[in-house]
Subunit: 149 residues, 4 copies
Amino acid sequence: MNERAFTAAELKGELHARFADPRRVRFQDVDAAGIIFYPRILEYMSDVYIAMLMSAGWDLPTELRTGTVGTPLVHAEADYLAPLRFGDEVSVEVVGVKLGETSFTVGYRVRTATGKVAAVGQTVHVCLDRTTFRPQAIPPVLREMLRGE
Amino acid sequence: MNERAFTAAELKGELHARFADPRRVRFQDVDAAGIIFYPRILEYMSDVYIAMLMSAGWDLPTELRTGTVGTPLVHAEADYLAPLRFGDEVSVEVVGVKLGETSFTVGYRVRTATGKVAAVGQTVHVCLDRTTFRPQAIPPVLREMLRGE
Amino acid sequence: MNERAFTAAELKGELHARFADPRRVRFQDVDAAGIIFYPRILEYMSDVYIAMLMSAGWDLPTELRTGTVGTPLVHAEADYLAPLRFGDEVSVEVVGVKLGETSFTVGYRVRTATGKVAAVGQTVHVCLDRTTFRPQAIPPVLREMLRGE
Amino acid sequence: MNERAFTAAELKGELHARFADPRRVRFQDVDAAGIIFYPRILEYMSDVYIAMLMSAGWDLPTELRTGTVGTPLVHAEADYLAPLRFGDEVSVEVVGVKLGETSFTVGYRVRTATGKVAAVGQTVHVCLDRTTFRPQAIPPVLREMLRGE
């Protein structure tokens, strides 16, 4: 199991949102128990991560066609603190990115309309050369986007 | 973050599969990078967990309509060890369940046709009374199914 | 097969958009062929239909918990005119609703950023009493929302 | 709208199943109304179509990497005859394929454990050269697999 870069306390409330994706829990996001199907929270996390980078200028579709750098996940996790139901308005937030030399961890939080934290999570990504599959240093331009400065 | 009941070493190889769900990575399970979209592994884990319990006699659809006990997730995580692509044959396995008084952790492993471990994961569930939302002891019948004896 | 209320010509261009949902084709919406997985277009249609009614004041989550009227689908179809890929910006539009006494048909169009029609579709819904499962007249308040006046 | 190759009567009962995919409606296949989310039926149709061709020897993953022929959808539709719920056992069937020179239509039926038809559908595919995007004659080997003889 990969080391966790973020503590639960950091994710739950200490950190400001770096990037937020307001959305509603969709009709099809719940399961037969009537609450959000748990992998959907990971989809929300993937969506906000990609939205943050594309909004920072990262052209991921082009990168996937022509680039040589990949940042696949090696670990993902989430804590579920409160059930979400169809129609609930939530803010899916990136609360921070911790950068290593060849890897980085992204921290997430899902808040309800009243500010309650419904879920937190983190994903660990490794930067690699997609032709050799060898780890490589995070390119400076991506490092800046991830740092958010 | 919840305590991890399973170590990576246990999940990766020490444990025998308790229940296995053979499947292929579907056409729609990959993403624009051409490898499995990471939340799909969590869906595979949810599928094998439900299949194991239903095969043990747990009538979850009826339970959801008429029962009072719920076992929602409070934590889920996965490690991604090798990329999976459309058409890959995999065995999604429950490798063990660790039981507490009011909660339990389920350990998972995804193996390729050659036996290589492509992913491992675990989910933590809390047993509660669905009317009061209070934790309660795992009912004996469910405890036996989870123990698998 | 149900009768089609909308002709292809109507959907492709004659009608103004009644309600539009701007979105991007997500990372996970494509399949192993690299273009949008065809049922995702139906998901987009479902999303814009629900968004239109909720924006008109229909509280569907509450309706599902306490109401007696249901409007399940009896037919859905789509024509695929141009491939969509990850990152494509599209406008998913409701172009019209044709009302019968106990049923209605909703027409949809998906346009790219350059205005090109990538897909059209329609869904046929039947209004019924959820306790008896008998068709019933569309309630006046819902009829007004569907008519969009 | 594309011409329909199959009549509802053919799909509902006249034709024998050419290929059947037994499955259960999954926990996450339902929506907030508690019945199957309608695009899921199209996913089931896609799954059985791919399973039929792969079982006939079509190596679609390799074809997508190295082949030049594509068979994208231009039309899909489904009729919903009875609601399906979590846990329902169904047989998703290809009931026939109607072949043209450069296109073909696949007919589908979803039956419950008691033999009741819960849904029928059809998809229209065009055979094209993936480099020029021009329609081309269905290659003989694929034609034989589709004909099922």
